[in-house]
Amino acid sequence: MTPEVLSLSNAPVLWAAAMLVKILVAFSVLMFIVAYATWVERKVIGRMQSRLGPTMTGPNGLLQPIADGLKLFFKEDLIPGEASKFAFIVAPMMILAPALISMAVIPFGGDYEFSFQGVSYLMPMQITDLNIGMLFILAMAGLGVYGIVLAGLASNSKYSLIGGIRATAQMISYELAAGLSIIVIFMMSETLSLSGIVAAQQEVLWGITSLPSWMHNWYIFSQPLAFGLFVVGSMAEINRTPFDLPEAETELVSGFCTEYSSMKYALFFMAEYANMVTISAISTTLFLGGWDGPFFGWINFLIKVFGFMFFFIWVRATFPRLRYDQLMQLGWKVMIPLALGNIVVTAIAVLLCQ
């Protein structure tokens, strides 16, 4: 008997329960990774700079994220008198929500087969499979800038304003570069749905059948340039070092979040790490075959995501911050022309191969 795909029409109660479980698991795993990414970051950067990182709270400092969370939670929540209050409170939420929502369309495993009351169902390991999945992620990434802009404006402080202006210019420019660089993926996979893109990457590498069958057609092999552009572009889009000009501690006193304290400040940091996880997950799905690999579905996915996060932390420990004009030059004069050229070349190649 062939299993049927679990959906709202064939088993509404079971579907709702599965949906809730998926959302809860995805959310709590994401939150756990966000909390412990801070610990890993401190440890790894500490190692790279010949320090120890956190050691005092718990074994190897493992309780440090919890201690930080508690500390920030019990601090006084200051709102500057000159700030516009509503926007000041809403801004941290507006930056965190888009970062979390993007996880909803990312497939973190293959279809899971189970039987319930004699009927076998197929449950996709993905919260929802939109057929415009990637566009949805780009749209949410575009909304993410409002949080920073609002925080910069509402604080009514010069540092915050400069941080906000920098963030706007930077995110607009690099959104273009990152968005243009992944168009080649849609050309090759002929779909916008993320599970469709993962499925398209499971064929034999470059369609050459004489290669061993475990070498799958991951798009990093066909599109290394697009991969590099996307990773750099999205790193700039989420204000990760070396592109952290909006919060540049040395010149802007942490920029748009200068005036924030307590849980609101913690929300900004959660958003930064949540964005990091999201970008890693998207890059994994688009270029590294998603959950495809030697182990069981979601384990492959997590390994790749952790690999990307380690890479981001490594980059932070390695590169100094760019200057503002260098940033703009890199975005508009190097990355966007490269991405456009890549689109043209790929279009010709796809046309010839058809």
Binding site: A87, I132, L135, G142, L143, V149, I172, L192
Partner: protein
């Protein structure tokens, strides 16, 4: 279910569109406009046009409004514009109510014939909205599409020429 969603988001859209014009602070106006755009995107989804919804959020809310906010921040227009009530406001309100009634009568004048075109809900479900739009744009409407892109290119070149006179 769909009609409840429609009324909910239509109400929010109209409400926030009203506040775009009402609020004194340009930044607040911009944010209300973003709210309107997001509501419109939801209405597109209920009309089986998910591609339009994503493009609406990406282009209007994600790019154009961010640029507008950027200009507001750069020119430091953040302070509230204090303006007194004028009769122009009342005239504008009256005119828009009249326009609403005229539109309403025009819409209600016709009788639906039940004729079905090429693109129905069923074709959208079969082929996908993005695919249909792409096909129409690059086969049937290729010339208008190219003309629009040349127009945009001219605008870009013009902006560069205007801002960099001496280079």
């Amino acid at each position: 279910m769909l009609s409840i969603l429609f009324y909910l988001f239509a109400t929010v859209a109209v409400f926030s569109a009203f506040y775009v014009t009402k609020s004194r602070n340009p930044i607040n106006s911009a944010l209300w406009l973003v709210t309107t755009f997001i509501c419109l995107a939801v209405l597109y989804i209920t009309l089986d046009a998910p591609f339009m919804a994503a493009i609406q959020i990406m282009v209007y809310a994600g790019a154009i409004m961010v640029l507008i906010v950027f200009v507001i921040m750069l020119l430091n227009l953040g302070t509230a514009v204090k303006k007194r009530y004028t009769h122009a406001l009342a005239w504008g309100a009256g005119l828009s109510v009249v326009m609403l009634f005229v539109t309403n009568t025009f819409i209600r004048r016709g009788v639906p014939t039940g004729k079905v075109g090429d693109v129905t809900t069923q074709t959208i479900h079969n082929y996908g909205h993005t695919e249909l739009i792409g096909k129409a744009m690059f086969t049937d409407f290729l010339l208008p599409f190219e003309i629009a892109s040349i127009l945009l290119l001219v605008a870009i070149v013009g902006a560069v020429v205007l801002s960099k006179r001496e280079v």
